[in-house]
Symmetry: C2
Subunit: 177 residues, 2 copies
């Protein structure tokens, strides 16, 4: 059909398969956005999380990230970023600033992810995520991140490309690498 | 079910909705991988493509990219990168080198994308993609890319985060920004 309307092909609990003008894509029904957080500790370490990801069949290292509005539809993006950072890493930011919003895979999903820079971090908890999440936190000194990621990739751990995007944004703000 | 097997929830023509151990995700049935190409022309311009993307409801600026193995299941990733670059931009590379492979959205899809650096470019065609693709090619001088992207984003054009990842990889290879 080419009526420019979105049609449901299949409804899952967390993900729908839909079509519009003949193009099929995946759509989250229960969240308004996704945030990923670029956060550097006061002693200069980038916070990364590692967790098993069923869709790709292995452990993935990513920026701390999560859904916006899955529990509170009115939640602001920066508030969600602060919450996710605290839940996953145990660090709480003083300020969160939106860096960029864009699609993760615009041919396959309507999902958009907002990169948020978190600053003024203080340690407030253990991290590790909420119930059911199996998250390992890595705090990697910024200068070591490229070599550290290369070693992890060589060991078969998957690296989310948005980490490299985060490093570029850090380099633009005067925090190399 | 928690039998560790993948179960089909719904089968589309180009995309399936599947579940494994209770986790729902989207999976392409007809392609083995996706490539995105980091390519700088001999006069120092980064090649970007802009096209309407139905899933996100607007124009998106991306690295030139495409599916591997959708027409030839034995196609190598670097060969696919060279083919996609030529089809979309009209530039043909002498060499293609794999930079990194990783998931695009590992909570939502099994899709993995490989960033490939293409070098030794020569102009061989008009670009614009194959039948049905509505691709505009942008060749942006590297030093201007950050400001150019910011202007495009401010005008409401969506920017794929993998462009920033590509800029980071270029900076690592001695080609800032």
């Amino acid at each position: 059909m080419n009526d420019h309307a979105e049609h449901l092909i299949a409804k899952g609990r967390h993900l729908n398969l839909v079509t519009r003008d003949g193009w099929e894509y995946a759509k989250r029904p229960n969240a308004t956005a996704v945030v990923a957080v670029i956060a550097v500790t006061p002693d200069g370490a980038l916070l990364l999380v590692e967790q098993p990801r069923i869709p790709v069949g292995g452990n993935v290292i990513e920026l701390p990230a999560g859904l916006v509005g899955d529990e509170d539809a009115g939640e602001a993006i920066t508030a969600a970023a602060a919450r996710e950072l605290e839940e996953e890493t145990g660090w709480t930011p003083t300020t969160c600033t939106v860096v960029a919003t864009g699609p993760t895979s615009p041919g396959l999903t309507s999902e958009m992810i907002t990169l948020v820079r978190a600053e003024g971090l203080r340690r407030t908890g253990a991290g590790g995520g909420v119930a059911g999440e199996k998250i390992t936190v890595h705090a990697v000194p910024l200068a070591d991140v490229p070599a550290w990621l290369a070693r992890k990739a060589a060991a078969g751990i998957l690296i989310d490309h948005k980490i490299y995007a985060g490093l570029w944004w850090l380099s633009r703000s005067g925090s190399p690498p």
